[in-house]
Amino acid sequence: MTNKSDSEQLIIAKQELVLQNKEKGKRAAELVIANKELAFQNVKKEKRAAELVIANRELAFEHKEKEKRAEELIIANKELAFQNIKKEKRAAELVIANRELAFQNEKRHKRAEELLIANEELAFLNNEQQALFASIVNSSSDAMLSKTLDGIITSWNPGAENMFGYKPDEIIGKHVFILIPEHLQNEELEIAKKIRNREKVEFYEAKRVKKDGTIFNASLTISPIRDWNGNITGASKIIRDITSNVIAEKKLIKSNRMYAFTSAINQMIVKTTDEIALFNEACNIAIDIGKFKMAWIGMIDEATKKVIPLAHAGSDDEYLSKMTSISIEDIPAGRGPTGESLREDIYIVCNDIENDSDMAPWKEATGERGYLSSIAFPIRKFGKVVGAYSLYAPVKNFFDDTEIALLKEAAGDISFALENFDIAARHKVAEDKIIESEEVFRRLFNESADATLLLDDSGFTRCNKSAVNILGYAKKKEVIGRQPWDISPEKQPDEKLSKEKAKAMIAKALKDGYNSFEWLHVKADGTELHVEVMLTRITLKGVQSYYTIWRDITNRKKAEGKIKILANRLRLATSSAGMGIWDRDLVNNQLVWDEGMYSLFEIYEKELRSAYDCWASRLHPQDLERVKEDIQNAIAGRKDYDTDFRIVLDDSSVRYIKASAVIEQDAEGNALHMIGVNWDITELKEKEKQLIFTSNGLQRAINDLNKIMDSSLDVICTVDAKGNFLRVSAASEAVWGYKPEELIGKPLINFVYNEDNEKTQLTAANVMTGNSLNHFENRYVHKDGSLVPIEWSARWDKKDQIRYGIARDVTEKKRLEKAIETERQQFFDLFSEAPSSMGVLSGPDHRFEMANPLYLQLIGKKDIIGKSVKDVLPEVTEQGFIQILDSVYQTGETFSANEMIIKLDVNNNGKLVDRYLSFLYQPQIGRDGKPYGILFFIVDVSEQVLSRKKIEEREVFNRSVVNSLSAHLAVVNDKGYIISINEAWTSYAMQNGETSMERTGIGSNYFEVCEKASMVGDINAAHVLHGMKDVLSKKIKDFYLEYPCHSPSEEEWFGLRIVKFEGDEPLILVVHTNITERILAENERIKITDDLISRNQDLEQFTYIVSHNLRAPVANIKGLSDMLGDESLSKDEAGIVAKNLLSSVNSLDNVIVDLNNILQLKSEGSKTRECVVFAEVVNDIEKSIHSVMLRENVKIVVQFDEVSEMITLKSYLYSIFYNLISNSIKYKRPDVHLVIEIKSFLTKDTIEIIFKDNGRGIDLKKAGDHMFGLYKRFHMDIEGKGAGLFIVKSQVEALGGKISVESEINKGTEFKIIFANKKNI
């Protein structure tokens, strides 16, 4: 069985085995290296994190926001570090797992090795030892067999029998192929060949087949069998079933793959910066490294609660686009792994998709695509589930705990990365802000026009260009590094040492955070630089520094110096001129006076009081307020300050002071300073006063003179030497027609009539020699062209070279004569052109002396002058006109007539025509007192009279029509006055108690009537008033109002219509109609309709009762009757049927009784009413239900003090009380003693009766409208027909009352009945 060469072979095999194990070790080492690399990467990440931390710390140092961000980053990095630690741990675990596996392999092979050694040794052992060895062989669980070189099995141990299922006698002599799957038999031939050729045979693994056909993984160790000559005659094989090992190894590979997958995800998230790339990469890695069939990532769409796939990789075959869309709600589409994972926030594994009922909606699709297992992980963002990561594997039961743990981590990584994107985005924003603010700061610093520097203990550390420029240096280098006192003079203007003072200033800035002061620097060229320094303490990179700003105030300092000099000069100037200068600081409200002011105001103790107090105390009390106002106006810019005022000195003497000032403003126009001068103007004022006094006196004298002049009827005038008017009195207008101002300044001679010029000039010359002149006459030309004779008196004033003259008009008489002539002419004109006929008769026979053309036209005659009336108008003699004329002539009394009818032969054809004439005969009385003639005026009014008569006729017609109308009519004008009314209007007013029509008759004001009525609350009157005005103003075309107007005796309604009167006149017609009949008819109709509706409702009610309440017991009786005929009815049942039959019949009877009651109620319309006493009703009821009350322990409390009785139908009231009381008893609470309170209340027009109980109450929300309905009950357990309250309500309403209810469950019910309080009905 064994030989030497076989043992060599064994040694070779052993070496091979060692080599293989070494390789395993190497593989483990590689894993270790891989893990180390990973660890290294993690270290790198940590380093990066640390760098970030350092970077963040630096940033944080300068900025608070940076600190916050650093904290966040540190936390984020810690998390990252923590995750990495977790990963390292996992890696270490994997290494250990690998090592164990390697160790197991080693052990396994070692055992085989030992067996081979044993085999080898066997070759040299004796039989005894062989037997021992054989027992080892037989007891081994490994299969051991030997075969010839041809492959014929020669030995077969029990291990082999166990493993393959063949017994030794079945297999020995058979070819070894029987143990090898057909397709692997070539391999076996190769190995046999190798053994024959003494080649090294690998320790190898192969598939073997059992007797029952199952194929398993086997580990084979083979060694040649040699004969004593060392020739190979066969081979021995040790076969071990390593199926379990293969599985473990596969698992390891899978785990490694999963680890690689997790690791790849981990690396990926570090590199990836956006979501979509992250998702795509995560899916790709799942396919490429994780070897999944398909992977996808979906995010929740919050609106639809659906999962939207965003990325996928692997063999999809449109699975995602075609599948039932996944929901996160608990519906079938949401019960798959992804949906559930999202909803429950856990990972969901499905290791057998084909047989999982929850996968039903997708089963077909997954099956087609070979997805046999799946897992879904929730993706979270800051704790909230936002999406899912789903993976599909091509085998069942793919996911076990190890994989899940790894994959969970990968999903966690994705969530972590998602959060990191957000954090990173926020950081980016923060960083940008910081950079931006740094940029702003840098620009501010560098480009500021103000010199800006940074200072610390070591001197200036930074400065901007302005700082270099201001100092006159060329480069920043020249400033930086120097101390402030290095570029200052040794001493400051206040004689302090620059170095010490600078340090003191910096110390103050350190203490207060800020310090501002003036400083003197020295420029590069040695000149002075005055600056205002602002030091702000800041901490820069942990060093105490000062942000320094210089503002150049050199010019201001110089200007201040100059101003000092100018002020001195001014002081010199003003003090010599008796002026004072003052300066009021308006910002600090301080007044400063110079010496001049103090001496002007005679103030000697100036130290004791403020300048303002001095000023105010000196100022004259009457001027103080005014001057203050002037000052305020000046400050406000309303008015320049230029005023004067009085001051009162100690000796009470008054001085006049003139004051003016200017206002100094800043750039915004705010007043800063008011600088002014005061000087004494007392003397000037005194002179002014005197002057005014003198001129006033003069003025008065002149005025007196003027008055005298102007009141004269004659023209008083002065003329200068050249002959021009100097002054002229007002009479000139009356005399010459010229006003004084028209004459003054003009030569007198111009107004003199030409012919009189010469003598006038001669006389004037005479007067001017000193001779006074009286009664000189000449003629002037009036403004109207007439000549005015004037009588003059004149005198020459030599001193003033003025001629005084008085001119009198002497034309009076001549003018009168002329006037008479004119008048006469005018009379004739009037006479002939007068619009009325007129003429003059003279003598007792009335001869025509004059007659105007109109008269001739009237009478139709010509040439009548000198003829008598009788001759000219023979037709009037008979009409009595001659007698009238005679009478006037004889008595001297005027006669007048109006619209007298005269028949005249106007056409001279003997036909007389009617003329209506109004005329006047006036006697002409002579100087002897006797009449000598008659003046007559005649107006032909025929046309007017005729047309008026026509109108009057029509008016009569209209009036009779209007008066025959029943409507009350009035015509009202725009002022509200009634100008016409008809008879109906009058008689209506009379009926309403107006006897003399003083309110609504013609001439009374209808507006006022309405106003008064509306004032006492008549709304209709106000409407009517508006209506009238609106129609008058044409705002509306017409107005109509219907209103009731009830008198104590009858009810009436009226319609009032207002329309505009036709025509242009502002008149309205008020038409007032009695519409009572119409309204009553309408009301009747409404009543009939209501009645019909009510009857119809009653009818419906009956239909309902008949169809439900009457029909129900009938139906029951019918059903029960049927049962009675049923033979199968037992005796007990028959009893129940009979009982039910009886109760059905009873309820049928009840309904019929109720119906009868209700019908009676409806027909009992009007029975006699009587006085019913409430207490009696309650007593009667108590008596009738005495036993019930005792049994139920009912207490009735009554209180009828306010009203104890009412006139009503007793039977109804009794029924109402009875039903309400029995209702209360019926619905009492079983555990509470029933108390019913009945009270009555009296108001102005009502009687209220309240029924209140403490029963079980009703839920009114539920019961609502049905409360008083027929056959409505609200309690299941109480017997009741539901008719009681219906009857109560019907009866209350029949009595004209109302019933309402309030109730609360388990508290009680309160019914309130309200009756109208009509004692007389």
């Binding site: 169809s1107 129900a1112 029960l1120 109760s1143 056959y1271």
Partner: protein, 131 residues
């Protein structure tokens, strides 16, 4: 097809009617499971707690219209509010004494109501119900 053990729910405030109805049903279908309610609230609770739940069998509801605390119409409204599936499992018949045609028309118009049965329930009607 005749139901083997039909379920009946009778909701009517009139115990006499319930007695008649139950007996008529039992006579035709001795194995029938008949529950009666005089309080519609209780009937509603029973239906909502059992019949409309998944996996429960079908039942026939005989419902009166005119009841004091809740009308038959209100009863169906409550069912509509509380359940979306009640009409799948509940065959609703109105069993009313009313001869008012308005009631019949209203029942016909309601999609949940299968038919209107005039009281008293007759044996023929039960046979018809069970088919």
């Amino acid at each position: 097809m005749m139901m083997k053990q039909p379920h009946f729910i009778i909701v009517d405030d009139d115990p006499t009617n319930n007695f008649i109805t139950k007996r008529v049903i039992k006579k035709i279908s001795p194995h029938a499971d008949v529950i009666t309610f005089t309080d519609p609230e209780e009937g509603l609770d029973c239906i909502l707690s059992t019949i409309v739940k998944p996996n429960s069998g079908e039942a026939i509801l005989l419902l009166d219209i005119n009841m004091p605390t809740m009308t038959g119409w209100q009863f169906i409204e409550h069912l509509e509010q509380e359940s979306t599936v009640f009409s799948e499992r509940l065959l609703i018949y109105i069993l009313s004494s009313s001869v008012d045609s308005a009631d019949k028309e209203r029942a016909k118009a309601n999609p949940h109501i299968i038919d209107y049965i005039m009281k008293p329930l007759r044996a023929e009607a039960v046979i018809h119900l069970l088919e």
